[in-house]
């Protein structure tokens, strides 16, 4: 079974630029999560999707971050414009809806200079 795929793996941008991350969850997983992991900290949930609907985006800085999950499969997370404090690893995870188990992708390491 293929795991959660994410791309790109690394991205370096200047502040005020925009960036987008892509995630392909495990086949059949209805729930998709985006987390932000700042160096030395645990993952922090940004947004949770169930199929193509948003379950929780209360921690998403909506003035600069946006996410979508069209067709209930792949998802993209966008930051526009980026700030220095957005430097982090952005993790995507998927799960089977009613279960707690979450399966993480390798993450995208974003550096904002």
């Amino acid at each position: 079974e293929a795991g959660v795929a994410q791309s790109p793996r690394y991205k370096i941008i200047e502040k005020r630029q925009s960036v987008a991350f892509w995630c392909n969850p495990i086949s059949g997983h209805a729930t998709l999560y985006w987390y932000q992991q700042i160096l030395g900290q645990g993952p922090k949930l940004l947004i949770q999707f169930q199929n193509n609907g948003v379950v929780d985006d209360s921690q998403l800085p909506k003035d600069r971050f946006s996410a979508e999950r069209l067709k209930g499969v792949d998802s993209t997370l966008k930051i526009q414009p980026a700030k220095l404090e957005d430097s982090a690893v952005y993790l995507c995870a998927s799960g089977q809806g009613a279960a707690y188990e979450q399966y993480f992708g390798p993450g995208t390491r974003l550096t904002v200079t």
Binding site: V4, G42, Q48, D56, G95, A98, F104
Partner: protein, 112 residues
């Protein structure tokens, strides 16, 4: 109230020793307590998890001890190996949305 406090921040153990990482929580609505292992450049991977109706769960060299009254749980790694060197995160889950709140992580180094 949603926080999960994890300690220590870093841990160095000799090969063959026991590694112990502790977590504490406040929210009594939490009903799922997993531990994740993360290697550099990789995403966290589920290691072992426990529900609050049991006090201990063991899988191979990994054991979760759970103290519901104290609102604490811990990960014990027996016979620690250099390959166990990684960052370990505790987490707690609650709600119909099945969301997890993660601790701050413990960087474990097992010396050969």
């Amino acid at each position: 109230q949603q926080q999960v406090k994890q300690s220590p921040q870093s841990l160095i153990v000799q090969k063959g020793g026991i590694s112990i990482i502790n977590c504490a929580y406040e929210n009594t609505a939490f009903d799922y307590f997993p531990w994740y292992q993360q290697f550099p450049g990789k995403g966290p991977a589920l290691l072992i998890a426990i529900r609050p109706d049991v006090s201990e769960k063991k899988e191979g060299r990994f054991t979760i001890s759970f103290n519901k009254s104290a609102k604490q749980f811990s990960l014990h790694i027996m016979d620690s190996q250099p390959g166990d060197s990684a960052t370990y995160f505790c987490a707690a889950g609650a709600g119909s949305a099945r969301q997890l709140t993660f601790g701050s992580g413990t960087q474990l180094t097992v010396l050969p």
